[in-house]
């Protein structure tokens, strides 16, 4: 029943009462068009909406995978909005019941979807057995989508009666994170695995980088002999030993605690962390490493260690579902299940960090793990929300918070944690490269001194 019906009935009542009261036949005669209009509406009123609803998703997964990888390595746009592939939705409604004069088909797109082409609502006439197809395109932000409802509102041609049904057709769509492909990162975990790979294994063997020298043993090739050192010694010959290169266990930890969830006009900081985690996972797996993922704070937290493209797919699926969650039990890192990662592995944590996290990170380092913290800088990100120029008190507060963060970073570095402060406006690749070069030059210095000591 629409809101017009009560008004029409009131008008008819008024005409009847006035006609009877004044004995004017014209007033009673005026009821006739209204009554016939009402009668036609009652006769045409649809008994029941019986329809078959079928939804198709036109989605080229290959194209989507290509689109998920940002082509520009210097791209720092919000990962939620950039490069999202358009998904075509085709909703077919077949009338299996009686005649439906006017049906408003309204597809209710879930939150997180953005309409890019077409329309989600249409008025159609559906004779029995006929079909109508509604086509449109959407873009979806990262996440999993299962609920997709369609509302059908049928009314007869007079528009006095209407019936409405809401139906959910089976649907599943996962919009995976968009990431920028980065160059390989040369981490140095304390332990490596048995297979050949790109990471220095801290043990002598075949390889490219010089590791140490030892006395010549039968079977050593002449190419390995260190002639300069042997010339300085009368009796012994020395051979060069190179550092073995192996694959390693990499444990990625994505911080999904609500306390670190910062949203500004430029999007959510968490999305940058998700995108970076994806890029790191892809980079490490491409190099042949065994990678696992822990989404700290999430309900479905752990992806067990694995290799290859399938593992990347598992990680991407976990990242698709990852969302910041308010969990009081996991509000600090004390509950971090670090033993889930193989001992001596490389831990890479992506977190804006809280002041209390220092102790746990230092403890992880002391347990024999190599720890790399890539910390999306929350202060820069939040400054987008601030008005300019900053009031005096706010400016002091900002300086204090910056000093606190610098102090935290320094203490982390002092405890042996490799800390990378990532301003998300800068590309991750550049930041890691700078940081890597810094680490590399430090290692060169150490090696130089140790070599000098031996000589």
């Amino acid at each position: 029943m629409t809101r017009r019906l009560p008004w029409l009935l009131w008008l008819l009542f008024c005409l009847l009462l006035l006609g009877l009261a004044t004995q004017k036949s014209l007033l009673l005669a005026l009821m006739i068009p209204g009554l016939i209009y009402l009668g036609a509406a009652i006769l045409a009123n649809p008994e029941k909406i019986q329809v078959d609803i079928h939804r198709e998703v036109d989605f080229d997964s290959t194209q989507a995978e290509d689109a998920a990888i940002a082509t520009d390595p210097l791209n720092t746009a919000d990962p939620q909005t950039q490069n999202r592939p358009a998904v075509g939705i085709r909703l077919t409604i077949t009338n299996t019941g009686s005649m439906l004069d006017e049906v408003i088909v309204g597809d209710q797109i879930p939150s997180g979807f953005q309409l890019v082409d077409g329309t989600t609502t249409s008025l159609v006439t559906l004779p029995p057995g006929s079909s109508y197809t509604l086509e449109y395109s959407i873009q979806a932000v990262r996440g999993e989508y299962r609920n997709y409802a369609v509302t059908l509102t049928a009314c007869e041609s007079c528009g006095l009666f209407e019936k409405s049904i809401r139906s959910s057709a089976p649907f599943y769509l996962a919009s995976k994170p968009v990431y920028t492909r980065i160059k390989p990162i040369r981490v140095r975990p304390p332990q490596t695995r048995g297979f050949a790979g790109p990471l220095a294994a801290r043990s002598g063997g075949t390889g490219i980088c010089f590791f140490t020298v030892r006395e010549y043993q039968a079977g050593d090739t002449q190419r390995q002999v260190n002639w300069r050192l042997s010339a300085r010694n009368d009796e012994r010959i020395f051979t060069n030993v190179f550092e073995q290169e192996r694959v390693a266990d990499i444990g990625l930890i994505l911080d999904a605690r609500w306390q670190n969830h910062i949203v500004s006009q430029r999007g959510a900081l968490f999305e940058h962390a998700v995108s970076a985690t994806n890029a790191l996972a892809e980079s490490f797996l491409r190099e042949g490493n065994r990678v696992s993922l822990l989404v700290y704070g999430s309900l479905e937290p752990y992806v067990y260690p694995g290799y290859g493209k399938r593992q990347l797919e598992r990680i991407r699926q976990a990242l698709t579902r990852a969302a910041p969650i308010l969990n009081y039990a996991l509000e600090n890192l004390n509950e971090l299940p670090i033993r889930m990662f193989p001992s001596g592995s490389q831990i890479v944590m992506l977190s804006p960090l809280l002041p209390d996290d220092l102790e746990m990170l230092a403890a992880i380092r002391s347990h024999g793990y190599a720890v790399l913290v890539i910390s999306p800088n929350p202060l820069d990100f939040e400054e987008a929300l601030a008005v300019s120029p900053l009031p005096n008190g706010v400016d002091y507060a900002r300086r204090i918070v910056r000093a606190e963060r610098a102090f935290l970073a320094q203490r982390l570095r002092d405890s042996g944690v490799h800390f990378v402060d990532w301003h998300v406006r800068q590309p991750l690749d550049t930041i890691i490269k700078q940081s890597h070069f810094a680490a590399h030059s430090a290692r060169q210095t150490i090696m130089h001194y140790s070599r000098g000591g031996q000589a």
Partner: protein
Amino acid sequence: MSKISLWLFSGCGVAALATGFALNRHWIEAAIVTLAAGGWLAAQLIRTPLARLAGILALSGMVILGALENMPPTLIILAWSSLLAAWDLAEFRQRLAYSLDDAMRRRTETRHLQKLLLIIGIGASGALVIASMQLTLSFGSVLLVGLLSLAALGGLSLLLAQQAKIE
């Protein structure tokens, strides 16, 4: 097509009412009808359901007033039927705004207009026939018919309200 029909029906209804009042030399009522028609047309432009309802109620009130002041029955019935059709078309155009497929839109419009013309035509003819009939009834029979009509209309209203609740 529905837009032209809406303006045609509105114009026809308002013109019939204003002419009726003018014929009876009720200039104030004719002016009020013109004003109400202006409000109704404005309501079409601003597309506010409440303004549309207010416009149609004001014009219906003027139709009843015209009937009470012995305006020619043909004009009254023409005005009332046209206004009823215009009200229907105004609501239909709201629903039609959802239709973006041109072919489907034309088909729905044509179908709706055909049905509406048929219903309004039958209603207006029936009203003209009844208005032209001369019946002499006693007070008792008028009372009986009146009570029966009230009961029927009231029963119908209750039934429809119950159906709406069940749905």
